[in-house]
Homo-oligomer: 482 residues x 2
């Protein structure tokens, strides 16, 4: 049972005003804001300490619109440019209302993060898009500066990374959890939420939890905020809703990403959205010199500009090309990628490479010939790769690196989840909130579906987590009962 | 409110054992089987008479495994071949349990349809795949006889079409509704279901309905079966869940396909599945001579074998190529398609055609040159079109027919819906049935997601509709109250 009726609950072991389930980035943000609003907050964490997937992540937060960090690094950005980019990139029909709030509030949100003690070093890291290996604070983490988005909105790097080499997610959560510890909120770890408790009126009024082998009910007088993460680690949900993600070798997520909160929200009458969608990364850089190569499908055809962000590469390769893809180099462009990729074939001629890859005779040759013809002038009119990466591939031998989903590294996590209002209310199928129920982070549907940019999950999780916590604290309280 | 609590219902105006909501093909099948099992059945229809989208459809039923109709037309088929085809074609991870039942039970189901008075003329229609313009009974309605499926399972036509030219869906529903009228079941038309009624135990015990401007509650002592259709005609759900389908010019469905039953099922705690998925048809044949042309994307690249079924063409063009596609002919292969398609460009050379279509210089030329080189030997090793449609495109002038989603006819309907057990029980997110609630037809998720073959909706709707009606009639009844 994912929902139990309050009349079947004999006693509540504890009570609070706002019950936050899950203490990753979204849960910490919800906890902090609900507590700051004066609510009696109880935050539950199933592990022995908070952090969740956020703590294991690269720590990138997608922020912009002209943050102090962007300015310090010499980049102009505006909420409008950020909004235009995200509207164009976040799938076929993004939630414009949420995106507008997110972009307009991004500078404020940056200040809030700094106020919680999260440090950002005002140095731009140019050598790679995504998580930097250094403690630099700003990176590109999407396809802002490549086709077609560079023609839609003025590019700016928006990946904001806490200042520590390689463990920025851990630092982010250390700071947020310290702020939670310093707040009025209470935290119970080693406590797993099993079910929601529904009152006679249909309102969610608490949760059934298990800790130390004992089940007990907790009462939430204003609301429950589900911040339990996605479902990349639940095989059954993945097979049912996102079978293509199940093919990716690297599943990005802590053990807790088993969809428990999404299932409870659905059982309570909430509507889920975009459950098939995922972030699908195909990492080929660093080094960026890799971008002189060509990404082709099983028919030897190119299918997008190779300098798109790794999230876009993976999405196109898996969703549109059945996960059959190879990265083609000639001798002069060949570099070894930092993330190891097997060499799928080597040939003295492209014809030989084709045969090795079991591609149709002439197919890869035709693609490379067309590319080379334009590349001789430094142009790529077919897929619009930036000129600096466009050189003819002519010098033998030729090599193909394995970029197939079955043979190489694709990193995936889920983007679908509960459909929420901009204030984090879990919505029923008629758009009306399920009374007393809120969600944030990857338990709720991501802003991108697909079209992910790194940092959107920590970004929307903390941003809308704060809003959900604040809103839950304003719900009319049920009577005190204990 | 999509769910009302029984304690808030002052009186039930009527009661029955099994309440069927919606009297299209799935609802009629559920009604007939529940009544045959001895249950007191009440079927609701919001229109003035039953039929729904099924009656407006082409009437194709996907059946096989060696039906008398297949045998009379000289085709061998087996449940195994049918299963292998559907497992390979119905999306990345079809429901094997349901497909197995469907294939093993298909010959029996054919007999049941004949017993309800549905006539099938034992003549195979070879000139077109999909709904025949004649009264012939058997057609291909999927990609059984083309690559890659012809290598996976022995092809057989499985589109079974009731005997009447052009209105087979109307005939099917006329026969099924006549059978309903002759049964013990009661029918209430002009009655719209507004909400489900949930008992104190959480079980669905009835529905709130509106007829002639008056709201009343109906009690269902054994179960409610939602057969309300898909949601292609609900703009809000379409934008939220299936925005790409919203781009298709022709939305296939009656007014009732507004997702009402799916929303009620979700509100009752049921889990929906594959809501982004649709059947997306790009009709280019008849005549089949069209297949000598080439389907290319906005970069002038081919992307599948042109002799795939129209549902596969549309799916690939919209989902993988952003709905930018053109059908290329030379002078010797040019024919006018029966479904009008605008000529997007004409050129004395392929170079001129490229320019007219704003394709990159050399791109279409490279694709056609590669195709022609192999076509000269009657082969298509790149995408495996069958040899009889493979001829070089060499004689000017050249023409491109508009196959873009924004400029031409794509026909779409939704395939996502409530997740159900093989017996039609609506399942919660933990896989446990929502007590008292069943669904069939397009209110439930289709067997295909995507990878649709025509006839699967009338096929799975009637097949699993029967199972749902039977199963609902076996539920333990709540006490008589009236």
């Amino acid at each position: 049972m994912l929902v139990v009726e309050a009349r079947d609950v004999t006693a509540f072991a504890d009570e609070c005003e706002v019950l936050v389930v899950g203490l990753g980035a979204a849960g910490a943000a919800a906890t902090l804001e609900a507590a700051a609003a004066g609510a009696d907050v109880l935050a539950l964490e199933r592990a022995s300490a908070g952090g969740g997937t956020s703590a294991l992540s690269g720590g990138v937060l997608y922020l912009g619109g002209g943050t102090p960090l962007q300015k310090a690094c010499g980049f102009d950005d505006s909420p409008e440019a950020m909004f235009d980019y995200l509207m164009a990139s976040c799938g076929p029909r993004p939630d414009a209302d949420k995106l507008r709030l997110y972009c307009q509030g991004s500078v404020d949100h940056y200040h809030w993060l700094v106020d919680q003690g999260v440090p950002f070093k005002p140095v731009f890291y140019p050598h790679y898009s995504g998580e930097p290996p250094t403690d630099d604070g700003l990176v590109y983490s999407g396809t802002e500066d490549a086709w077609p988005f560079d023609r839609i909105a003025k590019p700016a790097p928006r990946g904001h990374v806490p200042q520590i080499p390689g463990q920025a997610g851990g630092l982010l959560m250390q700071k947020l959890l310290a702020a939670v510890a310093a707040s009025r909120a209470r935290v119970r770890s080693d406590t797993r939420c099993l079910a929601l408790v529904r009152g006679a009126s249909g309102r969610i009024e608490g949760a059934l939890v298990r800790s130390e082998g004992r089940d007990e009910a907790l009462r939430a007088r204003r609301g429950v905020v589900l911040c339990t993460g996605g479902f990349i680690n639940d095989e059954a949900m993945l097979r049912l809703h996102a079978p293509l993600l199940a093919r990716c070798k690297f599943r990005v997520g802590a053990e807790g990403d088993d969809g428990s909160g999404i299932r409870m929200g659905i059982a309570a009458g909430g509507m889920a959205r975009n459950l098939a969608m995922g972030s699908i990364s195909l990492p080929v850089t660093p080094p960026k010199a890799m971008l002189k190569g060509l990404l082709v499908n099983g028919q030897g055809q190119r299918f997008l500009n190779e300098d798109a962000y790794m999230g876009r590469l993976g999405e196109y390769a898996l969703l549109h090309q059945e996960g059959r893809a190879f990265w083609i180099h000639d001798d002069s462009t060949f570099v070894r990628p930092d993330v190891p990729r097997a060499v799928a074939a080597v040939g003295e001629t492209l014809e030989e490479l084709e045969r090795e890859l079991a591609m149709p005779d002439g197919s890869l040759q035709a693609s490379v010939a067309l590319y080379n013809r334009h590349a001789a002038r430094g142009e790529d009119p077919v897929f619009h790769k930036r000129a600096k990466w466009v050189v003819p591939l002519e010098r033998p031998p030729f090599a193909a690196l394995d970029c197939t989903v079955d043979g190489s590294l694709y990193a995936a996590f889920t983007l679908g989840g509960l459909h929420t209002s901009p204030d984090g209310a879990v919505l029923a199928a008629d758009g009306v909130p399920v009374p007393g129920l809120f969600a944030a982070g990857r338990a709720s549907a991501c802003l991108a579906a697909p079209g992910y940019a790194s940092g959107l999950s920590l970004g929307d999780g903390t941003f809308f987590g704060r809003r959900a916590g604040r809103r839950a604290s304003l719900e009319t309280a049920t009577d005190l009962r204990i």
